[in-house]
Subunit: 327 residues, 4 copies
């Protein structure tokens, strides 16, 4: 490949009330507000040396504008543009200066209809990792991954592995041998990008990395004491898949985020992807807890990179079912 | 009062398979096995300087033989015997030597039909608090409390406060002002004894104290890795009531235990009992999670101190309902 | 005894710069500031339901004005007054209204010259235990104990046990069988009051209770990030004696405080006090770390309850030496 | 470059008593013993999917036989051989089958005289990450880094960056602008390899990754309870440099290991290496604690890859001094 995708790097979420979002992300969860204006809030984690990893953008209704990946250099953007055009995907350039704090960017509608973005340059920001006096709420450290619901996981994950250079760490298959879900990475963690079979293209959640398990418990306590008990959708628990200690939250617009700690290093080319059977009760929650229906059914719509309209959704190719052990 | 009840101190549970129980309590949860014979396993926590706090006794079917309280001295037993007889309760003496590792003991059927026991003397055992090399599983430190389902909470908790000298730390009442549940203590923690309205007399659970919140998370991980995922009934979570970080487990016979950390000191006579409304969603789980039906409906039968038969159960006096927020 | 001392309850420390003290205790350590005026700052922990447990009082030079114990009722104050007068100690009454937020109080110079205070009434304050949104810094929960350097530990600890009703949980003795240090309690923790052989009467430190071990590590991180690295005098570490995970800090005036988690329940009358040999390297720090000289040599002067002057100090009766393993 | 070094992967340490080593590494620290024979113990961490990351080899005296790096493929070995030969370094091939569980390996004496090894193939082993029932002691997860004392840090770190493709995450320089120490990585953590100015070539320590900060505290408790208090050389503490929470131990032969948690992701090519001034008191220990002299002065000798003799040592090029703040 003539390009090097570094990692999942930022998302732009449309939200309906910036003040409500700020209260949730900044006051409760302790995200750092790098900057904001009447239309945007730019957020980052304590470990991040870049301007932001999450943009909240004022809009009429909630939607995902883009899922952004950092690449090695601007030259990589040209190579990626060529690849996506050859594959018949729509692309769009946002030149340097068109987006705040971000250099030249390539947006594409990917094979599942997800609105990706690639960029090499982002403004630096002071890294606050050792400003422990500023730690609060969840002590969020950095963005970790995107998890998307798509109608054809096998096709999506083949494209990411074969064309974009992602590696697979873990996957779920059905008794028929179909790929139900796949965890793919560029950086050396369990994933930058996960795909799950379902109505799509939709963003299921964005994962953020926390420093230790107690930070997740404290997040629950802080949310509850601020009246955000209803925002806690699932967890805390241990994922079988990825081994992470997790918590799923719904933000004021219903966007789902995962707070996450405890996966493992995926540096080795000879690491064998770990297979999970869809009916293994320890796959989703290692301890055997079932996830609530809303966790399976609800997710955020995504935007067409050219028209700005919501992308039409198709059902999952595999029969939509929760694992049988849940029934 | 002419006696001084120190604390909840031990329970005797009838179990149907000692080996299965040992695997659960000793191998998985890390209870210390002080001693055992063909009919009994005697268990204690790492902090305990006494022979045991839990006796598992081989029997045909699961049952609670007794809930034992330690008192200041043997003279207190006479005073307690007098009190219970005056109040019309059945009592029974077990003389020194009749029970292994326990001195003279008074057993009584309390006002709700619960099989209590009082004793002053128990054999000492090596305290293993600083034998960190022996820590495993849940790192259980000490017995903390009994929680019982009784048909008339108001009457039971009045007796414990007025006649036995317990203090109330927290309680739940209904919109009609009826006491739904009460947390009562002798030692300076939130409780030695809790009562909840329901079918009774039954033991809902025995609470054990852990050293820190991560020990609870590790317990889940260990249980799951040993195939005990189904034993995890509820949690981990934070109780609104008591503020404890908790986990509820069902042992191989269905007896429920709670692993528990993070309540507070209740030394002060001017501490005002904390009132919770039964419909406050933060009361049971501060984070708003609902408890499963089995947690509400299932509990262990208790034994008649004289006949050895199971005590007949009556429904809760207050209309049995889960809090409305759960519906 | 005709009185019931409940627990160590508050201290008044003279400090030279209230703003510097507030920055340390409130901004860095997260103590709750209940109230303040030009001369005082009243602080409490997140668990405390009473107005304050620490008063910082503006003065020309640092000193300890009083170490306060809560008693069961005002009648107990009369009984205590009688006892101390019979024993030949100076006493002084501060009537209701003379001290802010505190009812009638008895002050006495104790057998070692320490300025004690007893009171039954203190204004209530909102308990913030479940206001997790206010947790910061050390997440301090409650005052735990006083540790004092006195010239005759044996005499002091005999008085506290025989006349005041304290129980001994642990103690250190020398190879000659002399008591080098003693840990005494009224509430059911390892101590309310410790005595160590040394130049006295002086306050060595006040202990405050934290919710878990990670709170101690986070305190170090926060202090360092705010430029308070020099305030960390000793630790974090595990005490052999008491089993607590500890951190010793020096406030801006040099008063020493201990942040503390992980001792054990001392409810049982038949608990045998634990003996430590002064030369056991695990006694002070279970892991074997030596304490710095300043920790052994420096402590806060105390005030005469009648004259308001600093109490004259005498050397420790036992030969002042650090444990031999440190040499 | 025509090769891809993946990560630091294993070390072979010569030890004088395998039983003493096993007691320390396996019984106390909880390393997994994959296999052993009369001359070797092969150890791995709970996260590792490869046969071992540490080999303890019976020998007359303690020494470091080799520091091993995993590379992408066997073809990389040829390219590395070429590079080192061109640069005038001695190399030695160990063919497939010559070393247990390891494929073809290239050994070289690096620019500082350190005995490196490169290999692509290592036997797989069951990954025990989710066998929480086997967790004990330190719960060691995986090997993290090598830290070596060398006489010319600037030269060594230039070679690793320019010829071997390492990136620098953090470094220390003196007031004269000389590089005192450098932290270099291939995998996306703070380091695989650190160099510090000093008598060299020597191995200062091997770093191992733990799952959370409490695992480090528990390690101290377990070591102390097993009589290994003297093995704790420094910490626990927070490094300024790397931000890791650390503990330094000396094994029974004096080899130093670091238990380590809490550094950060180093995936980004535009991450600016962090500069620390040698006299910054927060560099070594963020909280300001000084390291003991032995930590500065003592380290393990290394072996000549051809002769098997100890490599002669030279003093550090920069004047050997501890940071001035320590004086």
């Amino acid at each position: 490949m003539d390009f090097n995708i570094i990692r999942c790097a930022r998302a732009i979420l449309h939200v309906t009330d910036l003040d409500a979002s700020r209260k949730f992300y900044v006051d409760a969860l302790g995200f750092i507000e790098t900057e904001s204006d009447a239309e945007h809030i730019y957020l980052r984690g304590l470990e991040e040396h870049t301007h932001h990893s999450l943009v909240l953008k004022k809009a009429e209704k909630p939607c995902v504008e883009t899922l952004g990946y950092k690449v090695q250099s601007n030259a990589d953007l040209e190579a990626l543009s060529l690849l996506f055009e050859e594959e018949g995907h729509q692309t769009k350039w946002l030149e340097n200066g068109e987006q705040h704090a971000i250099g030249r960017a390539l947006r594409v509608q990917d094979i599942s209809g997800l609105p990706l973005e690639f960029f090499a340059d982002i403004e630096p920001a002071e890294r606050l990792l050792q400003r422990y006096d500023l730690y609060k709420g969840s002590r969020m450290q950095r963005i970790d991954h995107f998890n998307c619901s798509v109608s054809d996981v096998e096709r999506a994950s083949a494209f990411y592995q074969e064309k974009l250079g992602f590696a697979c760490s873990e996957y779920t298959d059905t008794s028929d041998g179909d790929i139900w879900a796949a965890w793919l990475h560029r950086k050396q963690t369990v994933h930058d990008q996960a795909f799950m079979n379902g109505v799509g293209p939709r963003l299921h959640h964005i994962g953020f990395w926390l420093p230790d398990p107690l930070a997740i418990i404290h997040t629950c306590d802080v949310l509850a004491s601020m009246g955000y008990g209803n925002s806690i959708e699932r967890g805390p628990g241990r994922h079988g898949l990825s081994n992470a200690f997790f918590l799923y939250l719904r933000d004021p617009d219903g966007h789902r985020i995962e707070l996450y700690n405890g996966d493992y290093l995926t540096s080795d080319p000879d690491f064998k992807p770990i297979r999970w059977d869809i009916n293994d009760p320890m796959r989703q929650t290692f301890w055997g807890h079932a996830a609530p229906d809303c966790w399976f059914n609800e997710a955020s719509a995504v935007m067409d990179v050219l028209t700005g309209e919501e992308v039409e959704q198709k059902p999952g190719k595999l029969k939509q079912h929760k694992p049988t052990f849940v029934i």
